[in-house]
């Protein structure tokens, strides 16, 4: 037992869990983000806009806790990575957090005052509050894959503009499309009538763009990042990106047959696959430096003590499955079809 839980093994386990937590966050909050991004495109009138809000309705808050957990786990398991990553990405991270604040309050505030201008203002906030996080998460993760200009002391030497390189922007656009597609599928599952049809159509229209962007991103990753090195070393890992591309290719079949739950599940698998593809490629670095390999923050240099990693592992192994179980139950309980009558109820957004 003590061999299995050696400090080195714990670091690897936590690196994997770290990637997994981010991918769960992307899967869950991804559809909320996608819904908000699609809001101005799919919803024609106030009822349809409210349906879009209510499709995320009971879930966005619980989904956002996965972000808090991913952040908390970075802090607990890899304090130095947490310190360097978030101070280096100072501006984009704060913009992301402010955007998420506006996203959250737009749910709560929008329907509280009966005024067109009021609702329109919060709709705008809702769009940017979802679109910006999608974009910024993409830019941030792409830059992490590529490496960011940090020196040996962990000090960030670039500016916010140095993150907006070609690969970073491609990552941002990629994430926006991934989440929009994911959100469209969720909307199709939950909405009825004209909005349901529009959501399905949107998903079908987004799919080719998603496919092109996926292949482009994988190609750019080859050009701009060292991510594939790990895959040459351990070819078995290639199953992860391979699985992601396979489920993506299966999407038109699901969409055509109207198997929306399958399509949504495939989209979730795709998101996990893409995230883990990047994370596995980064190993053992958590924050790779583009200045010198020696300045990279690695799993070993960032990890907490063996005791903390062990305690946290026990906590995670007990709590996370329980959380997943009750969240899954809540999803099954509250994923009802959003019909126009629901909007008249007091608890609807």
């Amino acid at each position: 037992m003590s061999d299995i839980l050696s400090h080195e093994n714990l670091q690897i386990i936590w690196f994997f869990l770290w990637g997994l937590l981010w991918s769960i966050y992307f899967v869950l909050d991804g559809f909320d983000i996608g819904l908000g991004t699609l809001l101005p495109l799919v919803a024609a009138d106030d009822d349809e806009r409210r349906m879009v809000y209510n499709a995320a309705g009971p879930f966005w808050d619980g989904n956002e806790v996965w972000l808090i957990t991913a952040g908390g786990v970075t802090f607990a398991a890899f304090p130095k990575a947490y310190a360097v990553m978030f101070s280096a990405l100072y501006a984009p991270l704060l913009i992301l957090l402010f955007a998420l604040i506006f996203r959250a309050v737009s749910f709560e505030f929008r329907n509280k005052i009966d005024s067109r201008g009021w609702r329109k203002a919060w709709d705008t906030c809702h769009f940017f509050g979802n679109f910006l996080p999608a974009l910024l998460l993409g830019v941030a993760f792409a830059n992490l894959f590529k490496g960011i200009p940090i020196d040996g002391r962990g000090i960030y030497l670039g500016s916010i503009l140095s993150l907006l390189n070609l690969y970073g922007i491609a990552g941002g656009v990629f994430f926006v499309i991934v989440f929009a597609f994911h959100g469209a599928l969720w909307l199709a599952i939950r909405a009825e009538g004209a909005l349901h049809d529009k959501a399905r159509k949107t998903a079908s229209m987004l799919w080719p763009a998603l496919l092109v962007m996926t292949l482009l991103f994988l190609a750019l990753t080859w050009v701009y990042t060292p991510l594939y090195n790990n895959y040459f070393k351990t070819p078995a890992l290639l199953t992860v990106p391979f699985l992601a591309v396979t489920v993506l290719l299966a999407q038109p079949f699901c969409l055509k047959k109207g198997r929306l739950v399958s399509a949504f599940t495939a989209s979730a698998v795709f998101i996990v696959g893409v995230t883990l593809f990047g994370v596995f490629g980064m190993f053992p670095a958590l924050v790779p430096s583009s200045i010198s390999a020696a300045a990279s923050i690695t799993v070993a240099s960032a990890a907490s003590s063996q005791v903390t990693l062990t305690i946290m592992l026990v906590v995670a192994l007990i709590c996370v499955p329980v959380v997943i179980a009750y969240q899954a139950w809540v999803y099954s309980l509250l994923s009802f079809k959003i019909i126009p009558e629901y909007l008249a109820s007091e608890e609807a957004y």
């Binding site: 619980g62 607990a76 000090i155 005791v307």
Partner: protein, 485 residues
């Protein structure tokens, strides 16, 4: 202003704003759980209406608490990266446990309770709201265990440049059973419940004075008033224990709270006193109550209490011995390559006395006022409508517990200075190497965004508080009317 001052201001704005919403969440969730229980037990629909009306205010408040909490969590990494690296092993794990153990539960079950209306059984609804109340109060425990560790670090060892947990039994268990933190937790919880009680009574009194929904607001008031009185009295007793614990473990903070400069025996409490930090003495001292400070600190009116002028050099010497402190070593190298040097000296190793002292006096003064007011409220709980002066007082009182709680945190945090981790790390040493200009811009953004959202939220809370419960008088009656016909 340098990056340290700006980052401290930003953290203060972020944490104070967050804490506007947290205490009401803690207390109101318990109240909602109690009325839901009464609903299930008695079947009286009035309790269900109460849960829905107060629940609406709860949700408006809760959302802002959630989102401002997320920015707070990431603040440690963005602005206090040296601190994060130093304490992540202990502090970080407490935050992570808070999220997995408590926050998921709270955020998930509040959705079940709110959106499950009409879809789930009464019993499940009851379970959900108790889960929310339990999780919220549990969440506060983990956060305060983390803060309590900064105040009174235990169970750690210094390895290289990091504070690392000293094993499971000797480390983790000590961190989670840290008496200092548990005392803070009790104090915070009682304060939060008191605030929530006054919130409930204030809004109920407003309606009762106008004759609206007598049964509804009468019931709310009668439930809240003894609850608040108990919290207010317990706060006095427990607050004293808190003071004793601070006097023992953080003598500098205690001395700053009392503006006590020179070590002496039988220390009196002056009713009127004004600290003069520059000259390390009081500008004036009037109306002494003999031996009271000694009595409060150590239970004996004759005992010696150390003054700031003796404690500061002692704390500094302890810090230097523990950490090999070199005052000339830069606390950070800024991105432009310039070193940031903020030496601590034996003389200035003390908290800002005026702020700590005034905040403490304000909190204690308000605390006594709350006992008086909640006693009156309890006595006249059946006759609020006939006592317009009391109703008015309770309405105008709503902001005061907020001020008292903020003052309490100002004592805890300003009184902790100059340490970030008590006698292990100075606040300056925790800073990130980010340009002051970035922090200046983000601080401005915080002030503008939070100011705006706070204003909107308070406006909406007021609007719905005044509107009253659904299916009642006014606008709602009309809605029900048109829905029925």
């Amino acid at each position: 202003m340098d990056v340290i001052v700006l980052s401290r201001l930003q953290f203060a704005v972020a944490v104070f704003f967050h804490f506007i919403f947290v205490p009401l969440t803690l207390g109101l969730s318990v109240f909602l759980a109690v009325v839901e229980t009464l609903y299930v037990r008695t079947g009286n629909e009035q309790y269900e209406r109460m849960a829905r009306f107060w629940g609406k205010l709860f949700l408006l408040n809760f959302t802002l608490g959630v989102v401002t909490g997320i920015t707070l969590e990431f603040q440690f990494g963005t602005n206090w990266s040296r601190y994060s690296e130093y304490v992540g092993d202990i502090f970080g794990s407490l935050l992570a446990i808070e999220a997995t153990l408590a926050f998921f539960l709270e955020s998930t079950f509040i959705a079940v309770w709110h959106f499950g209306r009409g879809r789930i059984s009464k019993k499940l609804s009851l379970f959900s709201i108790w889960a929310v109340a339990f999780a919220g109060n549990l969440s506060a425990l983990w956060i305060i265990l983390a803060n309590g560790w900064m105040q009174h670090p235990v169970g750690h060892e210094i390895v290289g440049n990091r504070a690392v947990i000293a094993g499971f039994r000797e480390g983790f268990l000590k961190v989670v059973s840290n008496g200092f933190a548990w005392t803070m937790y009790c104090h915070t919880l009682l304060g939060a419940w008191l605030l929530s009680g006054f919130f409930l009574m204030g809004i109920s009194a407003w309606h009762l004075a106008r004759g609206n929904e007598k049964d509804f607001f009468g019931k709310s008031f009668r439930l809240a008033s003894p609850f608040t009185l108990i919290a207010a009295v317990l706060l006095l007793v427990q607050g004293h224990i808190n003071g004793v614990v601070v006097a023992k473990h953080q003598p500098a903070k205690f001395a700053a709270m009392e503006s006590h400069w020179e070590t002496s025996a039988a220390v009196p409490m002056y009713l009127f006193v004004w600290p003069d930090q520059e000259n390390r003495r009081n500008a004036f001292e009037l109306l002494p109550i003999p031996g009271l400070v000694s009595l409060l600190a150590f239970g004996d009116i004759g005992i010696e209490v150390k003054g700031l002028n003796e404690i500061a050099p002692m704390d500094f010497a302890e810090f230097q011995a523990k950490t090999n402190y070199d005052p000339q070593k830069p606390v950070a190298i800024l991105p432009d390559g310039s070193p940031l040097i903020r030496p601590l000296t034996p003389e200035n190793a003390m908290p800002p006395v005026l702020l700590t002292f005034l905040s403490f006096r304000l909190m204690v003064g308000l605390g006594f006022f709350f006992i008086l007011l909640s006693t009156l409220a309890c006595i006249y709980r059946e006759k609020i409508a006939e006592k317009p002066w009391l109703a008015r007082l309770l309405i105008w009182n709503i902001p005061l517990p907020y001020i008292a709680l903020m003052a309490g945190w100002a004592v805890a945090e300003a009184g902790r200075q100059p340490w970030l981790v008590y006698k292990l790390m100075t606040t300056s040493q925790g800073i990130s190497s980010v340009p002051a200009s970035s922090v200046g811009i983000s601080l401005l953004a915080f002030i503008l965004v939070y100011g705006f959202l706070g204003a909107v939220d308070i406006y909406l809370l007021r609007k719905f508080a005044i509107q009253g419960p659904a299916g009642g008088a006014g606008e709602n009656a009309q809605r029900t009317f048109s829905a029925n016909f």
